[in-house]
């Protein structure tokens, strides 16, 4: 890349009449920075304000939106975690999201592997059926889903939530992994077969490790999608004890209008945002890479 581009640019520098004057260059660079810094501020300020406010008492919040908290105490966090039940919502969310992620990754990998590398009657039809699941709004399914879960005795339970999460995350997972398994060289599978590996061990020992990058990308997207999921729990998981974080937050926010523990509300927001931000900061490069992979297909 570099080698090919330095050639033409050398030529270009040698012909100064095509280059813009440096003053204009600098002005444009400064203008770009200004716009970008402005946008960054629009993004960061609300977050920073939320973080600061989470340390204030409710009285301080009412006094002024700007004033710094008088002391950094964590009483709001304790209140949010225990009184408002954010702690138990947090645990529920971790259980549901972790289980759903494991299951959907395994099932999704299996399904996309078979669809991508085996020829059989109905292969294409199943693939398109999966794609259709990506396009239809989940709202269309929500009412019958409610009764399906009730018939299985899974309504308002964590396993019911897990199963639903898995089913609705499956199309995306299959769609994404399909292209990864398709791109793996056929020779590898043949080599494994010659070495006496059956289909099962070929998949688990050879193919799955080779699709590691694809799996990681899908995992991150699924984590974000499921951690942030709101509609499914709101409609299908109405038992307060089984609330997940997103619906617990909504519930808490609508109550806070009356009982006015705003400090705890802000603390709850920080508690919810913190884990995803940590995941984001750790996997930042991977994630930004996945964005382009996932949508350029």
């Amino acid at each position: 890349m570099t080698a090919t581009t330095t050639g033409p640019s050398d030529v270009e520098v040698a012909a100064p009449q095509t280059t813009r004057p440096p003053a204009q260059e600098r002005a444009f660079g400064a203008a770009s920075h200004t716009v970008l810094i402005l946008w960054s501020a629009v993004v960061i300020l609300p977050l920073l304000w939320t973080l600061l406010t989470s340390f204030k008492t409710t009285r301080e919040i009412f006094a002024s939106p700007f004033a710094l908290p008088t002391s950094f105490n964590f009483v709001n966090y304790v209140n949010a975690w225990t009184t408002a039940g954010i702690g138990s919502y947090f645990v529920n969310t971790v259980i549901v999201v972790a289980s759903a992620l494991v299951i959907v990754m395994v099932l999704g990998a299996m399904c996309s592997y078979v669809l991508a590398r085996f020829q059989f009657f109905g292969n294409r039809a199943i693939y398109y059926l999966m794609l259709a699941g990506l396009t239809f709004p989940i709202f269309l399914a929500i009412v019958p889903l409610f009764f399906t879960l009730r018939n299985f005795g899974l309504l308002n339970t964590l396993p019911g939530l897990i199963v639903t999460y898995v089913a609705f995350a499956l199309p995306f997972t299959v769609f994404f992994l399909f292209s990864f398994f398709r791109a793996l060289p056929e020779e590898t599978a043949e080599a494994a077969a010659i070495d006496g590996a059956g289909e099962w061990s070929t998949f688990f020992r050879v193919m799955l490790p080779m699709a590691k990058n694809g799996m990681a990308s899908v995992l991150i997207f699924n984590f974000l999608g499921l951690w942030n999921q709101f509609l499914i729990p709101v409609a299908l998981n109405t038992n307060v004890q089984n609330y997940v974080l997103s619906q617990g937050m909504a519930n808490f926010a609508s109550q806070a209008g009356y009982s006015v523990d705003f400090g705890a509300l802000f603390a709850a927001v920080v508690i919810t945002v913190a884990p995803v931000l940590v995941v984001y900061v750790i996997f930042q490069r991977q994630l930004q890479g996945s964005v382009s992979q996932g949508t350029s297909k």
């Binding site: 581009t5 330095t6 270009e12 095509t18 280059t19 440096p22 444009f28 660079g29 770009s32 960054s40 629009v42 993004v43 960061i44 304000w49 406010t53 939106p65 700007f66 999704g108 299996m110 399904c111 078979v114 085996f118 199943i126 999966m130 699941g133 396009t135 239809f136 709202f139 269309l140 929500i142 009412v143 019958p144 889903l145 009764f147 399906t148 089913a167 499956l170 043949e190 010659i194 289909e199 974000l224 709101f230 709101v234 409609a235 997103s246 937050m249 926010a253 705003f262 509300l265 927001v269 919810t272 945002v273 995803v276 931000l277 984001y280 930042q284 930004q288 382009s292 949508t295 350029s296």
Partner: protein
């Protein structure tokens, strides 16, 4: 395709039983395909496909959910919906969102992506701004925050008396903003809501565009510059046509999001906003189903929502095709 060709080659080469075995229906192979395809597919059929199909049927009944009897009423539910002023208002709000939200988000994210990628010095190689990684990372932040939390956060920021926005505005001297209810005023509720969604989405599409722009060969930008094209011209005439596939994908994603929009609305104005100015179909659907127990009617609303969504996606595809999408893009 490859899978069809390879076994033929393998058969022709007749290397030995190992290769032949792969094609035959051995127990190993059959059990593998059955389990690997069967389990996920069963789950998918029971919990995704079947509810969708049931919904289309229930949409034509007067089912109230908790009775066993349901009468087939044909298209009566749809007639009822299209006579319902509140639902029509919600439909209009959704369509407004689907038109405005993608446009604003894409213009903003495309502009920002251009600034971080190609707005560095035009001397020598095309390069990005210094610190572009920082801008990208920061802008992407909101995408990872749960939408409901974004909504809650912003409803506090918009708070008439203790919110950040009015705090900033009054300290800048706009006394009219002292206790202006951004979400409680019919004129501003929708705009304020759209801003929140844009805020949460711009970073994602900016990163998407940055990746796409980086995939464009640098020679193209060099050539445009030597030909004397300005930055704006280069962005609109060179870059934009080359990332049109991404624009199409983004437009569809954002449109689908706008036609849903449930989470944001539920957090910012759970009741539909002043004079239903931010009410969307999805809210009305859930109310109809789980508050009023009119499940048949709610399913009909779901069908309308699905039809509008598919029509929207089709429109975007068609528009891209009519504007000469494929030839330029590939």
């Amino acid at each position: 395709m490859t899978a069809v060709v390879t076994p033929l080659r393998a058969d022709g080469a007749s290397v030995g039983p190992a290769r032949h075995r792969r094609r035959r229906l051995t127990f190993d192979r059959v059990s593998f395909v059955t389990v690997f395809l069967g389990v996920p597919l069963a789950l998918y059929l029971i919990f995704v496909v079947s509810p969708f199909i049931q919904a289309c049927y229930y949409a034509m009944t007067d089912w109230s959910g908790f009775t066993d009897t349901q009468n087939f009423v044909g298209l009566a539910n749809f007639g009822k919906i299209l006579d319902d002023d509140i639902f029509l208002k919600a439909l209009r709000n959704n369509i407004l969102l689907a038109l405005v939200l993608p446009a604003v988000t894409l213009v903003l994210s495309f502009a920002l992506a251009n600034l971080v990628t190609v707005s560095g010095t035009s001397r020598g190689q095309t390069r990005g701004l210094k610190g572009s990684g920082f801008y990208r990372t920061v802008s992407f932040f909101p995408y990872v925050i749960p939408a409901i939390v974004i909504g809650i956060m912003w409803s506090q920021i918009y708070d008439p008396s203790n919110g950040l926005l009015n705090g900033i505005l009054t300290s800048l001297g706009f006394d009219g903003a002292r206790s202006f209810p951004w979400l409680g005023d019919e004129r501003t509720a929708m705009v304020a809501t759209i801003f929140v969604i844009v805020w949460s989405m711009v970073g994602f599409y900016m990163v998407l565009f940055v990746a796409a722009i980086k995939g464009i060969p640098a020679e193209l930008f060099e050539a445009a510059r030597i030909d004397g094209a300005g930055r704006l011209r280069t962005a609109l005439r060179i870059t934009l046509p080359l990332v049109r596939d991404q624009v199409q994908t983004a437009w569809i994603y954002l449109g689908i999001l706008a036609l849903d929009a449930f989470v944001y609305m539920a957090a910012l104005n759970p009741g539909g906003g002043p004079d239903n100015s931010t009410l969307v179909m999805s809210q009305q659907l859930l109310t109809t189903a789980f508050r009023k127990g009119q499940f048949g009617l709610a399913c009909a609303m779901g069908v309308v929502l699905a039809v509008v969504t598919l029509a929207f996606a089709a429109c975007v595809f068609l528009a891209n095709r009519l504007l000469g999408g494929k030839e330029v893009a590939r």
